[in-house]
Amino acid sequence: MTAAEHGLHPPAYNWSHNGMFDTFDHASIRRGYQVYREVCAACHSLDRVAWRTLVGVSHSNSEVREMAEQFEYDDEPDDQGNPRKRAGKLADYIPGPYANEQAARAANQGAYPPDLSLIVKARHGACDYIFALLTGYPDDPPAGVSLPPGSNYNPYFPGGAIAMGRVLFDDLVEYEDGTPATTSQMAKDVTTFLNWASEPEHDERKRLGLKAIIVLSSLYLISIYVKKFKWAGIKTRKIRFNPPK
């Protein structure tokens, strides 16, 4: 395969959650959700994330309830058997923009926008790839590149021709915390959010890992001490032969 078919390798960025004991930047997750909602959600679904999982992570309980209520879900039929709708609640999953894959393809000239719930785990390079892809659209494709109709050039996408165009532009969203919404800032936030969506257990996992290391290493040291203690008498004993007189 040529380099173009592999796609350009993304560089390693210093994510705030990279280290062994580092947790997600939750302010960034919150901003990232805003970017997802205002930009990505027009085409991409987030099927495996339920509203309730956002509570305590990026938004408060009442905020998430409000967000869920803005969507309609199928309710149980009424007494006559007519289908009914109800407002969303915390237990519901975040609805996608299209009813099914066919509808998504029809709306996007045959290209299927992938579900973003696990996208960070599903791509080589993970966060770095997503960030590089979102910020890596060149103004013009390199000379001599012929693209199929309806596609855009992105060096990080294997093959280079991606159906998604550049979507992030400076000041596309207005952050509620006043962070300047530059392209790279939005890309970083939405990538952190998607990383959280793929690995919601991330913070807890690292905490438990730290606990396990502390407990197991202290147990190990104790076991060494106990062994030495128990064996001390045996190791230092002296066998003496007293010949019969």
Partner: protein
Amino acid sequence: MLKFILESLEEVKESFLPTLAKAESEEEDDEEEEDEDEDDDEDDEEGAGDPLDKLREECATKPDIKHYVHHYAECVERVTKEQEEEGYEDKEYKEDCIEEFFHLQHHLNDCVAPRLFYKLK
């Protein structure tokens, strides 16, 4: 005996848990302060605009990357010239500048990536 062991364990736990927590919170505070300072500096110096684009421009003028910019520009020039020639459509081999572009981007990335996230929140 058991009671004594439990008590001593509790003491050991207390002796290093609070200090750990304190140390962490202090660190966090420091980091936050630093972040704020950095933000202020940026606002004063640079104002609006994407730090990524600025870093890319800055990096493109570095002596070790200039070389790749030059190669890419040369390739673009060569290919555009070729495209304007007659019979380009029927040519068996059409050159493209992907390789030059990848080399340039790769070296730009090596320069930009370690510095970018300090400029973002």
